[in-house]
């Protein structure tokens, strides 16, 4: 059984046909240079972008899943968000409960989890980039969706919050969820179960990080001379 299954998913001009199959409990990192198609792949997998090919969640084709139910099955976090109106942090996080038709369940606990309790009444358009990022992540987590697709969730975060988000990601996958997120810091790749490498809209490699991130591939895709050293592995508590 697969949680997220993409078969020949392609987006004209941005993503060449990609096939991959991810199961429950997998923490998946999506790496690749700027413009390699990471965001596009995540959006297509989330059913938010017109695409060719077939996206399946829990072995169900996307087109058979009603909109509201999609909000319960999958959560997507954008790379950045612009907030025109001054909704409070709490009400934005509570939006994650829309598909469940409530606006309270798990909200307080999630706010606390993302260190947002003190900011709960603050308008979102008065937050720093990192705080905004945590609000978006909290909104995704509070959906309790099994499939979590996060676009560069760590980009704006300080080291402590980044580490906490990674730990939370690990918790979600231990509970049976599947988390796919894009990242740039390859040193973090070693604490993932699976790494997928995109380059120029093509999926170059997918598999366990130690097998995929070879010096040869890193040179080819990123143009950097890298040495893989066990010492660079980041251990999570």
């Amino acid at each position: 059984m697969s949680t997220l299954h993409l078969k020949d998913v392609a987006v004209t001009g941005r993503l060449e046909p990609v096939s991959l199959q991810l199961g429950p409990g997998q923490l998946v990192g999506l790496v690749g240079p700027n413009g390699s198609g990471k965001s596009t792949l995540l959006q297509a997998a989330a059913g938010l972008l017109p695409h060719a090919g077939d996206v399946r969640w829990h072995d169900r084709p996307l087109r058979d899943i009603p909109m509201l139910e999609r909000g319960r099955l999958t959560a997507w976090v954008p790379q950045e968000a612009h907030f025109e109106f001054g909704f409070s942090v709490r009400s934005v996080v509570a939006q994650g409960r829309f598909a469940h038709d409530d606006d309270e369940h798990g909200v307080d606990a999630t706010l606390a989890r993302f260190d947002l309790t003190a900011l709960a009444d603050r308008p979102v358009n008065r937050l720093s980039g990192g705080e905004r990022q945590r609000v978006l992540l909290a909104r995704a987590v509070v959906t309790q969706a099994d499939i979590q697709l996060w676009d560069e969730p760590l980009a704006a975060l300080d080291p402590r919050h980044a580490l906490e988000v990674l730990m939370l990601g690990r918790e979600l996958t231990r509970a049976g969820g599947t988390l796919v997120f894009s990242l740039h810091d390859l040193r973090m790749a070693h604490c993932l179960d699976v790494v997928a490498v995109l380059d120029h809209g093509r999926l170059r490699a997918i598999g366990p990080p130690e097998e995929v991130l070879t010096p040869a591939l890193l040179l080819d895709v990123f143009g950097v001379q890298a040495r893989t050293e066990p010492g660079l592995t980041l251990f999570l508590p």
Binding site: L48, M67, G71, A81, F83, P123
Partner: protein, 325 residues
């Protein structure tokens, strides 16, 4: 910014304002009615007061309320749709589209043939403008793009209206009628007009349950979709409703500018941006605002409603622009 007032103060405050303004609006005029006479007139026990109230002031008041509620709600919807606090029916040219439709109906003589042709043509005109704005600006468009699209449409539709107006074959009576639509007003509104604007109530009722999805949409359509909102369907419904509301308001009162901008803004500032709360508040607040503006106009010796709202709204808009830069 944090809401300036607690949310629970909203309803009592706005309802009190609406009731108070309505009573004053019924009481004052060429003939001033005291509280006792007002009550007797409403109960039809005072023949003289009853004629004034039931034939002149009540229909005018009702039309004012409906127009205000419709324009404020329509502005609120457009702001959520375009994710831009400066979107409103007047600035985007939807009101002008409604007015152009109404003016064409009058100019072509259809209005004389059938009373209902004016609101129908207003809806058609407003629909055309809405379509054009959507194509030109797209949702999530920047303020500049949105306002420029509005400028272009307002100019274009103004030209249509001016053309009909300058058509020398028109009778004086028709010209006067058209001028009425251009300036916006509540003079001589009858029960017929109130009836024509009545579908506004239906539009408001259909809008009522859309507050929560509007919250999500106003923070981004892709995000909203990812959370389970059927964005395409929601956007279609919102556009249809805001167009209908603006068109009906324009059909009975002409172009009344800035209500859809000023009222949602003030309410958001006072009570926060949640649409579940703002929709009913905009309906009541819009009604109170237009009743109040009409009172000011009448007090100032018969200033047209559209002039009063613009005199208030214009400076307010400039202040908003300065603030947002």
């Amino acid at each position: 910014m944090k809401p300036l007032l607690p949310a629970r103060a909203a309803w009592p405050l706005l309802l009190a304002a609406l009731i108070l303004l309505s009573l004053v609006s019924l009481a004052v005029g060429d003939v001033r009615l005291g509280p006792a006479q007002l009550l007797r007139g409403l109960l039809r026990t005072d023949e003289f007061a009853a004629v004034i109230l039931w034939q002149i002031r009540l229909p005018r008041l009702l039309v004012a309320m409906l127009v205000g509620a419709a324009l404020a709600a329509s502005g609120l919807v457009m702001q959520a749709f375009f994710r831009n606090g400066l979107a409103s029916p007047g600035l985007l040219g939807v009101s002008a589209g409604g007015a152009a439709g109404a003016v064409v109906a009058i100019g072509a003589g259809w209005a004389t043939a059938s009373f209902i042709s004016v609101p129908i043509m207003a809806v058609v005109g407003a629909l055309v403008s809405t379509g054009a704005v959507v194509v030109l600006a797209r949702q999530g468009a920047g303020t500049e793009r949105l306002l420029l699209a509005g400028v272009a449409l307002n100019a274009l539709l103004g030209a249509v209206t001016s053309y009909v107006l300058s058509n020398v074959t028109l009778t004086y009576e028709r010209n006067a009628q058209i001028l009425f639509w251009l300036l916006g007003g509540l003079e001589d509104r009858t029960w017929e007009h109130a009836l024509m604007a009545a579908p506004i109530i239906v539009g408001a009722a259909l809008l009522w349950p859309l507050g929560r999805p509007m919250d999500l949409l106003s923070l981004g359509s892709t995000e909203a979709q990812s959370l389970g909102v059927d964005v395409r369907r929601l956007r279609r419904r919102l556009l249809a409703l805001s167009t209908l509301l603006t068109a009906l308001a324009t059909a009975v009162a002409g172009t009344v500018g800035f209500v859809g901008l000023v009222v949602p803004h003030i309410l958001r500032l006072l009570f926060g941006p949640e649409h579940r709360r703002l929709i009913p508040l905009a309906l009541i607040g819009g009604a109170a605002f237009v009743v109040g503006c009409d009172l000011i106009g009448r007090g100032a010796g018969g200033l047209r409603l559209g002039i009063v709202t613009s005199l208030i709204g214009g400076p307010f808009f400039l202040w908003l622009l300065r603030r947002s830069v």
